[in-house]
Symmetry: C2
Subunit: 206 residues, 2 copies
């Protein structure tokens, strides 16, 4: 299998030195790359800002912004069988980043615009022989929103996580499938979960 | 000498997962801590987000936001002889961070307020036996702004750097002193510069 994994958190520039980032460590994606490589799968990692090393046996493409991540994913996806979209992509970016450095003065207001939805774009070019897996970070206990995203983006599996998952070493996910089936998993560390998830991904091709 | 060094870039939360960060790597501060420890000085590092390891022989205090950094600096400064304020502290923070996660929808506007100026606050409690060193990231070639900060914040030395210094391995600084003296230094790597700067700091006590 040719596996494409996105990793880390995108950064959207506000000016020459500041950006909007998020708390994704890339730890789960790094574990997923390990699990895919251990399974003998050819693995590509598209990495935004990550705080952990990525297995050097993976082919690695570095990006910074959500727009760069989108371009890399749409370029790479056709040559892969499975996409696991584990990166934390900014939903918003400053509408007009400043060229220099904004100096401290009085209060300022910054306008943000939504970024493009990468998984929705992937859903539009997805072939019947390809599978896609998404993640949904949920503030609420009941993952209604995740189930909606699964359908809207033509995903084959979505992992609903509580907010606390981000930057944590462990995860307590619920897997949701297009037929409505929900598979709650116990709390486990991210490398255990990576192995569980890779085995579910292989079953998606059955 | 008891040396207090601030390191890395502060993060200001926008909501539960997003923050405003900056491109500071903490590399220069890590090199300064190494130089101070090598000189036999008792060294405390107040570290915001850093991308590099800090010498474990330093006493380390971890912080996230500019407000936490300010509190730690004002608490620690009285017990130190020298403060080198090498961290990149956010000048702005969202006025009202959201408790949960802002979901993607239409354009949004976020209001930012200036953060408190840590070096200005330090200047107000500084004793005659203490020395303070600041940094100024300059978009322009002529460091007028840096000279103004030096006076306004009662610094003993300010390092004016071009914007490109941040997240770079090298630095091409101009040192500016209260008597108006300017000492331009050649391009050097950050560990060389750390040694140069520590030797200038010791001279400040002469």
């Amino acid at each position: 299998m040719r596996v494409l994994i996105t990793a880390g958190g995108t950064r959207e520039p506000i000016d020459a030195v500041r950006f909007i980032g998020n708390r994704s460590s890339g730890r789960l994606s790094a574990a997923l790359a390990d699990a895919a490589l251990a399974g003998g799968h050819s693995t590509t990692v598209i990495a935004a800002a990550v705080a952990v090393p990525i297995n050097p046996a993976a082919r690695r493409i570095d990006v910074e912004t959500s727009a760069e991540m989108m371009k890399a994913v749409l370029t790479e996806f056709p040559a892969h069988d499975l996409l696991v979209m584990a990166a934390a992509v900014s939903d918003y970016r400053p509408r007009t980043p400043a060229a220099g450095k904004i100096e401290r003065s009085g209060p300022i207001t910054i306008e943000f615009e939504p970024t493009q939805d990468i998984l929705a774009a992937v859903g539009r070019i997805k072939r019947p022989d390809q599978r896609t897996v998404g993640f949904s970070l949920e503030s609420a206990a009941v993952p209604q929103r995740a189930a909606g995203k699964l359908i809207a983006k033509s995903l084959d599996l979505i992992v609903a996580n509580p907010l606390a998952t981000m930057s944590s070493a462990s995860i307590q996910p619920i897997l949701i499938y297009p037929d409505g089936r929900r598979e709650p998993l116990p709390v486990m560390d991210k490398s255990q979960f990576a192995n569980e998830l890779m085995s579910r991904c292989i079953q998606l091709f059955a």
